[in-house]
Amino acid sequence: MTEMVSLEALVASIAPGQSVAIPVDRAGVSMAATAAMIEAGLTGLHLVCVPISGLQADLLIGAGVAAVVETSAVSLGEAGGAPRFSAAVRAGSITLRDATCPAIHAGLLAGQKGVPFMPIAGIIGSDLLQVRPDWKVIDSPVGEPGKVVVVPAITPDVALFHAPEADRFGNVRIGRYRELATMAYAAKRTLVTVERIVERDLMATEDSAAGVLPGLYVDAIAVAENGAWPLPLWDEYETDGAELSRYAAMARTDEGFRVYLSTFLSRSKQVA
């Protein structure tokens, strides 16, 4: 059963050291929960970026919340590279699990299917196979002889994202962003922030149900208006490009990052 909770309670249910799956910038990033996690002083998190991340990962790395980062990239997109990520890599202060986008999707799919691994096309020849000893190259057990890469299942402790709306039954509108469903299927627990709770049943018709993650997979929901800001939320608001550029500039130094963070946290508090 889905619980309706406060943002603080939502975040308080994440324990230090847990693995947390987070979506790509345009697919509904819970920046509200990101601020709350930093406020709560969480540490040691293992981020699973599905399949890449930007501001969210960079903030969590810079604030010392993330200890392990499993990702296909961390980038601020048009605002440039991710400064705290790059700095942490150089400093060796995070453990890297470099990946390639479809391998993260494949690992989550294995989690969704309850199988230990998933085969995946391509990848052979990439140095990712050197730095990811948990990925194996096997001889295909069926069909024409040939090498195939297999990646282990990813079963995050928590899937965390932001969506436009949920209903009272815990059903969450995800539209075409089906990776959010994959994250939830694979994760042990799913935490969602939303712009609003609606009174109608999102599963009521075949058409509205098609873009819904059923409440069956959703453990807790907190309302957080503008909760993806400064990242975008489909059908709701665009990226705040000026804010992202401000971040990109300030986060070049650790000091600048601290100043940005303090403003970001106090602004998040005012909104919440």
Partner: protein, 247 residues
């Protein structure tokens, strides 16, 4: 030296040529020049009554033919439904390998870039991958990449995908999958084959005569400044403004 608009229009024209014959091309959300090249080919095909081409702009809701989340591009490529794609690289080496991870020793690299994205996968699966990197310098075009994000040639496994060409601000190279290396096809106006040699860190095959890259003809230029600019404005407003402003 050419002005910036001429440079962009040349690259757009070359890309349209490299894409000729494809049915479906995917381009990144922050790749306006490749997108413009694809749009130019689409417009030409329209004018000439040739089969239409589909352009998927990743991350755009409007120019998105997908409904199955972020994995669909990758599945679609595996199904053979994506004919062409663009990859860049902090480093590109003479064997066509690309590096999107960083320089120095992994993991605490001297310079860390964002990461490999989908390159390790898509390079195997998309028949016509165009390596597109505007900067043409020995630090980008290296003898051997520090980290292979995606390998160009892997005889140990069957693949349909791989590099088709390398396009920079200076020149256009073809990639030969049999020899596993590049061959200089043409040098852009304003540059010489020697400029290319000086600024390329890897070896490549050199034809006896290196032709200049043909500049876009009048009809092409008009198409770019008209219909393509309008189409770009929807998805890449910043780039469209810069291209128009350059006039």
């Amino acid at each position: 030296m050419q002005d910036d608009r001429a440079r962009k229009e040349l690259l757009i024209t070359i890309i349209a040529g490299l894409l000729d014959g494809i049915r479906h091309v995917a381009v990144g959300a922050s790749s306006p020049i490749p997108a413009a090249g694809a749009m130019l080919l689409r417009a030409r095909n329209d004018q000439q009554g040739k089969p239409p081409i589909k352009i998927s702009i990743l991350g755009s809701s409007r120019h998105n033919f997908f409904t199955n989340g972020g994995v669909e591009l990758f599945d679609c490529a595996a199904q053979g439904r994506v004919d062409a794609f663009f990859l860049g690289g902090g480093q590109i080496d003479g064997a066509g390998n690309i590096n999107l991870v960083g320089t120095g020793d992994y993991p605490r690299m001297d310079v860390r870039w964002p990461g490999s994205f989908g390159s390790a996968y898509l390079y195997h699966l998309i028949p016509r991958v165009i390596l597109f990197r505007e900067e043409h310098s020995p630090r980008v075009l290296v003898p051997k990449v520090d980290f292979v994000s995606a390998a160009a040639v892997t005889p140990e496994v069957k693949r349909r995908g791989g590099p088709h060409a390398l396009l920079t601000n200076l020149a256009l190279f073809d990639f030969d999958r049999n020899s596993g290396g590049f061959r200089l096809r043409s040098v852009h106006p304003g540059y010489t084959a020697e400029d290319v040699r000086d600024r390329t860190g890897f070896d490549y095959e050199l034809p006896q005569i290196v032709p200049p890259t043909p500049a876009p003809d009048r009809a092409t230029v008009e198409l770019i400044r008209g219909r393509i600019l309008d189409e770009l404005a929807e998805c890449y407003p910043e780039f469209a403004r810069s291209l128009a402003a350059a006039a």
